[in-house]
Symmetry: C2
Subunit: 371 residues, 2 copies
């Protein structure tokens, strides 16, 4: 690690979900490339090898464009208008590796960057940008056998709708009568059932782990977890009962009926990120006869007291980013181990409450499941 | 049909892809509802029972917002800024029923409407709006058994990538060893492999037809057809060879290996809309031993001369909207019938070169396939 890297690391601050270091313009390397999440053929936004992001947006009669990514205290990155009608600007510091949501504020209104693909987060389709991570290989699209991601529509009497879920089936699924374990995997607040595939690359992480022989092939089921609440600020009024009913009385029976599953506790896991972790925590405690493996990704902890009168989980997995509060996860796992539980912690280096933390968490979790 | 309806119909003009009639403001019914394609919880854009669309966009410091939908000659619908910072406006006439792409021009720059979902068209993710059609029931999400739409990643040596396709499998697929015929179904210019599910509701059309016993269950495969050209204006430089290789040498063998297909000509169809029709025309003629059924949806015609030295197709299906040039389709089918071919035409009433034409075309085509 050279001196500049150390200086950046020491100066980095936790601000509004992203991490920035103050660096003068002359230190910014001129090796910007289009973000891997741009719309086809779009040159901007761009990212350089240090993690700076650069934006370029055409709006010749606009007065002001601000990008929501940037130093939080200063309200993101204010772009500068050029004579050619393009607004351009660069974040004031390098951003954390991995995926970030963002949007543009154009003359006071919130819009997406026409250069970037959109991802559902914050209860809206937001622009997305990817700062290539040093370890990006584990979620890259490679020449390996690929599983499929299926959109299913399952009947839900409790909500009187056909509900959508995505089901990852591993390579080779359906070629013979082999049955597979199932992981139920939840998104975070403001996201939906598309998040783990689109932002998380859960399917590619699994394809790569399976190709390397690092994990057993299993099915992953992802559905929408905010059944009774989608508005900002009302997370406290969220009630688990409605989603629990959809998941345990409707989705699980549907999946066990329509897919080649091993339909028992030892072959059923539940995991979730952030608010999905909260849901996982509550539902696995309420329905501990259903799930054998519990995982909370930046989503709280379990303690031995709440587990003690229930069927023992085969694994409790707790993770978060190093820029969150890893002590909580570490201490909880230490306490669980001391009281006789199979508990594992994982801390994602140099990441916060964002998707690279959760991609890495899935990479660490998957090999521990269903043994 | 009352007098007003007749007046609207007579006055309607083909302008820029949509049809409008001049109607004074006092005739606009005040029964606007959010478009069915809005983002979760978003009130605008809205549509009334006559097919007018109303827009409302917040951008308090912007000078000008124009919606690309509206009277073509006048450059769409210019919104009016209110004291509350919202720009609002209504199309100057009713729009054709069905799906329309659109975008906003905000102070000279092109952005999407933050209220609407996005759909890939015109080689970018555009905003989408749905004018509810009188016959919308055939593509509605109903309480019937649902098939799945699977994302597959198939290896393509010719393009040196893993390529994406979506595969519709009918209800019950995979429960036993039953094998199914396959329709290869192509999107139009500037769209991609998401179009037939997202804009076209191909899966729901099939679910509903199958539930009513109107068509045989079959598989639909949808992949990206613009393998060597995505830029505006260069459609003439498009060469079929690259896509034909992907489709016939790579995708079809992959599907036949990984899905329960009946892998022969009599159980393989190809169809496409617009540019996808052009591709279907060329590829079925080049590879007539592979496909038994050909369908061009607003995508040109076949004549008996070009078919005469080839294995005879079991069906030639040609369709378009009544606001396109239906004579071409009707005449071509008459000529094919006269020369001994099983040819069927379909003209979608009161629609142009847009997705309601193609949803209806699929509804008409599917029952004719694989008999």
């Amino acid at each position: 690690m050279n001196l500049k890297c150390i200086a950046i690391t020491l100066a980095s601050l936790w601000i509004g979900g992203c991490c920035y270091a103050q660096t003068s313009a002359r230190d910014i390397k001129d090796d910007f490339k289009p973000s891997p999440l741009n719309q086809p053929g779009k040159e901007y936004p761009q990212v350089n090898s240090q993690g700076y992001a650069r934006f370029k947006v055409f709006a010749p009669q606009a007065d002001s464009i601000r990008v929501s990514l940037g130093l939080g205290g200063q309200g993101g990155t204010l772009l500068t208008k050029g004579a050619d009608g393009y607004f351009t600007g660069t974040t004031s510091g390098p951003m954390d590796e991995g995926f970030h949501y963002y949007h543009l504020t154009i003359d006071g209104g919130v819009f997406n960057d026409p250069g970037a693909l959109n991802f559902y987060g914050s209860t809206r389709w937001e622009s997305g940008i990817e700062i290539p991570a040093k370890d990006q290989d584990f979620y890259a699209l490679k020449e390996v056998p690929h599983g499929n991601v299926q959109q299913i529509l399952f009947p839900s009497k409790s909500t009187n709708t056909s509900r959508r879920a995505f089901v990852y089936t591993p390579p080779g699924y359906g070629k013979n009568a082999t049955k597979y374990p199932v992981l139920y995997l939840q998104h975070g607040w403001g996201e939906d059932e598309t998040a783990w595939s689109n932002q998380g690359h859960a399917n590619l992480i699994m394809d790569n782990l399976i190709a390397e022989g690092k994990c057993k092939p299993f099915i992953i089921v992802m559905t929408y977890g905010m059944t009774n609440e989608i508005k900002w600020g009302n997370i406290r009024s969220f009630k688990i009962e409605e989603f629990q009913t959809v998941l345990t009385d409707e989705l699980i029976p549907y999946v066990d009926q329509h897919f080649q599953t091993i339909a028992n506790r030892d072959n059923r896991a539940m995991a979730g990120l952030s608010m999905g972790g909260m849901e996982t925590h509550t539902i696995t405690l309420n329905k501990s006869a259903l799930f054998g493996y519990y995982a909370l990704l930046s989503g709280g902890i379990f303690n031995s007291e709440e587990l003690k009168d229930k069927p023992k989980p085969k694994l409790v997995f707790l993770s978060c980013g190093s820029k969150e509060r890893p002590e909580g996860v570490m201490n909880a796992v230490a306490e669980l181990k001391k009281t006789g539980y199979n508990a594992v912690s994982f801390v994602s280096e140099n990441t916060a409450h964002e998707f690279l933390t959760w991609r890495r968490s899935l990479r660490e979790l998957a090999p521990l499941l269903f043994h």
